[in-house]
């Protein structure tokens, strides 16, 4: 009888969490932290930009989290907002604590397709986390022009401000917009869609990640500017659970997003997203 689950590189059972030690906790905002995890035994395959891992808070539960940083030693970073029991437990972790992780799973941003092209990256709220390593790679050279639009609720909710300074130093056009601010705020106030609409130039390829409503609006704005819908990529979340396309909880139409996503081409999902309750 064939095995239900194929082993992945390194022989690690994809359904068994690997213990990791929390080695750093960086508070990004009042309810968002970035944890750096170091493997205690096996080293997971390095995540590609846009992939996610399933994170265990032992005794509480498991959630999918996009990888927001990787290094050569097998360490990786997870940026998490406290919204439920598991994410609260993860956000409460301190250096020295142990969490489980398995993966990485899912598809990645098509970085290679961005070479020598005009690239637009649009991130809303926590949606900047799955794009962080993509921007790091793109900012290091590749695209002809790279524009990053970041939307957040308020100025103190903007993630990765140090990274944004570094990206700007690399020549990336980083534009920040918030929903509301005092007059001291030196960025824009409005939606990410407003900023995209103001860019006034078509981009060859667009990566969009954030709340679904924001992604839909920003993707349409990019397409209105002239970006081919087949070159617009979004990151979709559903109830990822097994991570290996077996349980079906993350189904969206014919897609199982833990395998066929999270990063998907806009033109392949736009009609699915129009259906109520999907």
């Amino acid at each position: 009888m064939a095995a239900l689950v194929e082993p992945v590189v390194g022989g690690i059972d994809p359904l068994t969490p690997v213990p990791h030690r929390v080695v750093a906790v960086d508070r990004e905002t009042s309810d968002v932290v970035t944890l750096t995890l170091d493997p205690l035994s096996e080293v997971l395959v390095p995540a590609l930009p846009g992939q996610f891992v399933m994170v265990w808070a032992f005794g509480v539960g498991e959630i999918p989290v996009s990888v927001s940083g990787v290094d050569d030693a097998g360490r990786f970073a997870l940026t998490v907002r406290a919204v439920g029991p598991v994410s609260n437990a993860v956000v409460a972790a301190r250096p020295g604590d142990t969490l489980g992780a398995r993966g990485p799973y899912g598809t990645a941003w098509p970085i290679a397709d961005a070479k020598d092209r005009d690239v637009l990256v649009v991130a809303g709220g926590l949606g900047l986390a799955p794009l962080r390593t993509a921007i790091d790679e793109l900012g290091g050279g590749g695209p002809r022009r790279l524009t990053v639009v970041v939307g957040a609720r308020e100025p103190d909710q903007v993630l990765f401000t140090a990274d944004q300074r570094r990206w700007r130093d690399l020549g990336v056009d980083v534009q920040i917009t918030v929903d509301a601010a005092s007059w001291r705020w030196d960025g824009a106030v409005g939606t990410a869609t407003d900023v995209v609409a103001r860019l006034g130039a078509a981009h060859d390829i667009a990566f969009v990640c954030g709340p679904e409503l924001m992604m839909t609006s920003a993707a349409r704005a990019a397409i209105a500017q002239g970006t081919d819908p087949a070159n617009v990529w979004v990151s979709l979340e559903r109830n990822m659970h097994c991570g290996i396309a077996h349980c079906g909880r993350c189904q969206l139409g014919a897609l199982l997003l833990c395998r066929d996503g999270a990063v998907v081409r806009w033109d392949r999902v736009v009609e699915l997203l129009r259906e109520r309750g999907r």
């Binding site: 919204v83 809303g124 709220g125 926590l126 939307g151 957040a152 609720r153 909710q157 917009t177 929903d179 509301a180 601010a181 005092s182 007059w183 705020w185 030196d186 824009a188 106030v189 409005g190 939606t191 869609t193 407003d194 609409a197 103001r198 006034g200 954030g210 709340p211 409503l213 924001m214 609006s217």
Partner: protein, 158 residues
Amino acid sequence: MNDTRTGDIRQALGEHDFFAAMDPRHLDTLAQMSRWSDHAAGSWLACAGDAPDSFHAIVRGRVGIEITATGRAPLVVATVHAGDVVGWSWFIGRQPWQFDVVALDDVRSIALDVNGVLDACDRSDDLRDEITTRLLRVVADRLRSARLQLVDLYGRAR
């Protein structure tokens, strides 16, 4: 701070996104009721309740649409940038400014005399249609943004 320094307002109007591809005759008409207007960062272009004497086509800098309420810090709810216009309530029954408009940078705008534009629209249905269509686009964009902001996209799911 306002001034009326010379400059080719007619040409600037033609190059402004709001007036793009407008009939040159209309641009000639509108140029006659336009003036340059400069505002230092931190100054107000208009305050809520002011009579609608002019509306502004932003040429340089950012302005903030600001809401002030007793007991709360003033809140900028939208920024308006070069290529956009601020002030449209005047077009609907000469309503006063609804919100404060503050210059967030040193701002240069083209200020169009509201009464002059309305009188010109009374003389030309074609100009009225042009202005109406373009302002509707502005209103639709602002309404879309306000709706998305109302949802609190980046907050916790409800």
